[in-house]
């Protein structure tokens, strides 16, 4: 049994891939080697890692060999294209795309919630959608104590959800608007600077958008509860890299506020930001670059005696994507894959 691992990052130069590389270094992942793979236009770049410059290599099927763990930070089509190659090469593929999230043969894992599912993997592990990860980290410690009956969520999603290009567009448009210049929309279909809009993912026949369906169906899979009722509205806001969510939670029975607070303050991956005196609660700028999901404003719902409200912010690129994937890699490594 080895105690170090040969790791490759697919899409290593994107917003999530970059964060994965940072986290492997920061968390001292037991690496035997690190291979950074990306599309042709990034080849030739070098990425600093632990004092060395690691060259970015082209992502080709031939590049996937002598690897133990592949961290995927590409779009779903590329993930689908490479999955078989990765598995046949004997590596475990931790995929951040939506490609395999609802595949019954692929565990969908948030370590704080359903780490046990990891042992059923057959070469692929799916990393959930960012809004889903942040939500389940906050809901699970409550759901374990008193069954949740229904959740109504409104999201406040950062530009980073559309990658580095989304963040650049927010900054560029903001500059243009402040300078009274014409501005263009290249990444988002509508202006994102000083504006907001319902999430621009594809809308289905049920009038929910893809982002909303992910949150519903992925949360149910992670909780192993197909009956969990979730209403959700996803909204993009002019914030750089942390998502926030307003969450109304209806339980099967009344849930004492003190008990909820105690459960959340002891929950892994949760940090309470709950300063009623100074009106200081989770905020995206304070969640950015941090590991935990910030949770606060936990209160009794005045409209329903068995419901609570909470408010959360979490780094979309970290816990919402790269950190969760690296935590899965750590769990695999800890268990000898």
């Amino acid at each position: 049994m080895t105690d170090t691992y040969r790791v490759a990052v697919l899409g290593a130069t994107g917003a999530v891939g970059t964060e994965m590389v940072h986290l492997l270094e920061q968390r001292r992942f037991p690496l035997a080697s690190l291979k950074l793979l990306a599309s042709e236009r990034s080849v030739g770049r070098q990425i600093a890692f632990a004092g060395e410059a690691v060259p970015v290599e082209p992502l080709t099927p031939g590049a996937i060999k002598d690897i133990d763990i592949v961290l995927g930070a590409t779009e779903a089509d590329l993930s689908r294209q490479y999955a078989r190659t990765i598995v046949e090469a004997g590596a475990v593929f931790i995929d951040n795309s939506s490609a395999f999230r609802l595949d019954p043969d692929v565990p969908l894992v948030v370590p704080e919630v359903n780490l046990a599912d990891l042992k059923h993997h057959a070469g692929i592990v799916a990393n959930p959608n960012c809004s889903t990860i942040l939500l389940v980290v906050a809901l699970w410690p409550l759901h374990r104590r008193h069954a949740i009956r229904r959740v109504v969520v409104s999201t406040y999603q950062a530009a980073s959800g559309a990658g580095a290009a989304g963040m650049s567009e927010l900054l560029r448009q903001s500059r243009q608007i402040l300078a009274d210049e014409e501005f263009t929309c290249e990444v988002f279909p509508h202006p994102i600077a000083f504006n907001l809009f319902p999430h621009d993912s594809a809308i289905g026949a049920d009038h929910y958008c893809a982002e909303e369906r992910k949150l519903i169906y992925e949360t149910r899979r992670i909780f192993h509860d197909d009956t969990l009722r979730i209403a959700v509205t996803c909204v993009r806001v002019p914030v750089l890299r942390a998502h926030s969510e307003a969450v109304n939670i209806e339980f099967a029975e009344p849930f004492a506020l003190e008990e909820a607070l105690a459960a959340l303050s002891a929950a892994p991956g949760v940090h309470l930001v709950e300063d009623w005196q100074r009106n200081h609660f989770p905020m995206p700028i304070e969640a950015s670059g941090k590991d935990p999901v910030l949770v606060g404003r936990i209160r009794q719902d005045l409209s329903c005696d068995h419901a609570l409200d909470l408010w959360l912010s979490g780094d979309q690129l970290r816990k919402g994507a790269a950190l969760n994937a690296v935590q899965i890699a750590e769990a695999l490594a800890g268990g000898g894959l």
Copy 2:
């Protein structure tokens, strides 16, 4: 019976007061005279109105005479201070502050919803809170058809909720952050540029903030329904002057989507923005400077067969404040006060 009216605007140089003056001109309010009153530091300024320059006069008790209608756009303490003077001078006071909104002797009016309440005024009419006005304009056409049992609202509130100074702070901080400069928080307790936070109004023992309590108690008063159950989370976002709201509406019985759409498309003050093909729904930049509340994304809630979701945006300074007050003035004028 006169057919023109002597109007005064209190706080005429603030964000709401300025909009009131614009609207009186734009909507050709039947004016006999217009008096613009403000605090000492604005005195000496002149405001363009119908091709003339109207001087700003100091707000003093002596200034309130020979007036028929006073439009108030000041803070609640000033409204309280001047209310008796105004009423004793024989004028009707349409007050945009929170001072009298829950006073049982003062009608709280949104013309599209409860215009009939106006006839019970005894010299003072209260203009509701901005988020409340936008919400009730969208909910009333539904509530009239099928009783609403419970509403879960999350707001996305613009900087203009803190007046012209709030908007300036958003623009200034944005510039400073983009230039990598230090920035300060003067109006809001937390950074507003590229950030968002739960509404900074005073938090009560029930853990709801003042803005949230306004939305609950004012909506109940306007609907004449003290049993209406409302859960609400109010959030400030880096948008200039239009508020948005994600609204989950539970009815006593199922409400067909087509019927809801028909009710909303025929509703006064509502403009449907509902383009599922192009993923184009209400947005603050498109609501800004417009009169109607933009409503869209009306869909069946997948988590509850007797619930619908909708999304709205409305100009906080217009329908959320100045326009509603001017509509009340028009109704008073139309009825000979």
